[in-house]
Every structure is written in C-alpha cells, then in structure tokens.
C-alpha cells in the first residue's frame, strides 16, 4: 500500500468481517516524541488465543477464497520498516484491537495519506456500523463520531447518499486541516 490510510481501510474491513458494529480508529501523531501511533479497536467476534498466536502470519486466516490473508502482515511490515511494530490483542466474543507504531520521521515511514477518503469509503459502504475517529497531531485533536451524525440525520437517511458522502468528505478534510501544522 502506498499510504497508511489504505492499510487502515484494509484492517478496518477485518473488523467489519468480524461483525463489529462499533469501531474506534485512533491516530496520534506526536512530532515532539517522534512517534506515530495507529489503533483500530472493534467489538467484533474476536479471536481465541490459539488463532491469535500467529495472526500476523499470512497463512493464518479466516479467508475462504484463498489460504492467505495479507492485511495484518503488510501493515506489520510497514510498521517494522519504519522502526516500529504491530500488536494485536483480542478476546473471543469481545473484540479485537490492532495497534501499530512508527518512528515519525523515519525515512521509510509511509505518508498518512487521505484519511477522509478512507473514512468516507468505510462509512458510506457500511450504514449499520458506527465509527469513532480520533486524530491527534501534537496537542490538537479532531474527533468524528458517526453516531452523532446519524442522530442528526434521523433513521430514514442513508449515509451512502452522494450528497451526504460529499459533505462528510469535506467536513473531515477541513477538520484535519485545522489540526495539521
């Protein structure tokens, strides 16, 4: 993947497949500590300790079209290439948390990329799932919670509606621009 936002899109799809209906995506860019941390936490079906043991191994997968699942493996490589690592915690019937860390100014640390597009892709394609997005850059924070948006829109309006999608994308872009340097 060329951007970290694409890895995030990929890993959140794992949460969706695990039937999560509430997914937390947190990004913390700490330029002072030279550290980038990404956390994806869900309330999906979780994994037992046996499956969890080698979960980042591409051959450890629940997929049926292939015997290989590359998502976690690729994300871990991206983290390790940038002097960081990836950790997965999970509890069956409770949920899973994937945490990746990167040395912020590492020459091989991929750019964050377009988080607004990743979020909008997730939100518009998964109307029944709630996402809570929190992005911190040094001391500045942007939070986006689909539950608030849904409350405002009411039950009848689908978040996949093109006008809503456009509004979401621009709203998130603006929010992120405000906290950026």
């Amino acid at each position: 993947m060329l951007e970290l936002s694409l890895h995030i899109l990929d890993i959140v799809n794992n949460s969706i497949r695990a039937e999560a209906d509430l997914i937390y995506i947190s990004i913390k860019e700490s330029i002072d500590d030279n550290l980038l941390q990404i956390s994806i936490s869900d309330n999906g079906c979780g994994m037992d300790s046996q499956f969890l043991e080698n979960v980042t191994d591409p051959f450890r997968t629940t997929r049926t079209t292939r015997k290989v699942g590359m998502g976690l493996s690729l994300f871990q490589s991206a983290a390790r290439n940038a002097g960081g690592d990836l950790v997965v915690r999970s509890e069956k019937h409770v949920g899973t948390t994937v945490e990746a860390s990167f040395i912020y100014n590492h020459i091989d640390r991929q750019p964050m990329g377009d988080m607004a597009e990743t979020l909008v892709t997730l939100i518009s394609g998964n109307d029944t799932i709630d996402f809570v997005y929190s992005h911190i850059i040094n001391q500045n924070k942007f939070v986006f919670d689909t539950r608030e948006i849904k409350q405002l829109l009411g039950e009848k309006i689908c978040l996949g509606n093109p006008e809503i999608v456009l509004w979401l994308k621009e709203y998130i872009h603006e929010g992120l621009n405000k906290i950026s340097l």
């Binding site: 405002l152 093109p162 006008e163």
Partner: protein
C-alpha cells in the same frame, strides 16, 4: 466551511427524495467494487470514489454502489461488477478512475457495455 447546519439542510432536502425510491429494487442496477486487500492495494479506493461521485452528480437514483471482499481474481484488481436486472453480469477488470467514469457514461447511462475493459477482453 462545512457545518452541521449545512448537513441539516441536506437532510431536509433529501427527505423529500426518499419517497421517490420506493420501487427502485426491481429496476436497480447494482455496481459492486472489490475492496479486499488486493483491491485496496491496486487502487480500488479512488475507483469507488469516482463511481459514487458520478452516480451522485448524474442523479442516477436507480443505481447503487456497494463494496465486496475478494472476488478471487486478485491479479486483475481493481474489479467492478455491474449487475443489471434481467441481464448477464458484466465484470470489468484493471479499473481506474477514468475507466469508471466512462463506464457510468457509456454502460450505465447509455446501455453500451465497454467491452475492452471487461474480463473477456483480457488475453491469457
């Protein structure tokens, strides 16, 4: 500046449109984009985005755009499937944003399949 007030306005505008869609299910054209790791890595996100934007811009109320997992033809990703009721499914492969826009214009709006982008056109 985007504001929640603006979202409220969009909501009121859409509320009136919702009634129009009641019978869209039998006539709905479904566009499905592969969004597994293979798809994302090869550029499916902008393809999906282009499709959603075009459908929205052209006001195609009888068209839905959805995401799916691995279709099983990873080397040909990004893949877009077009399912029109009563017709054979069309599978477009190696998609790009420009191809997506062309498919909306020629296939979805005018009914002409863009054969050169389909899986049938791929030489082994």
């Amino acid at each position: 500046m985007k504001s929640l007030a603006e979202l409220e306005a969009i909501k009121n505008k859409i509320k009136n449109q919702v009634e129009v869609r009641k019978d869209r299910d039998e006539n709905t054209i479904r566009i499905i984009v592969g969004m597994a790791t293979c798809g994302i890595a090869s550029g499916a996100r902008p393809v999906l985005s282009a499709l959603v934007n075009e459908v929205g811009a052209r006001g195609l109320l009888h068209v839905t755009v959805a995401q799916t997992g691995c279709i099983g033809l990873c080397r040909l990703e990004p893949i877009v499937e077009v399912i029109t009721p009563g017709k054979e499914k069309v599978t477009y492969v190696k998609m790009t944003e420009e191809k997506a826009r062309r498919i909306i214009a020629e296939h979805i709006v005018n009914g002409n399949i863009v054969t050169e982008y389909t899986i049938g056109a791929i030489k082994e």
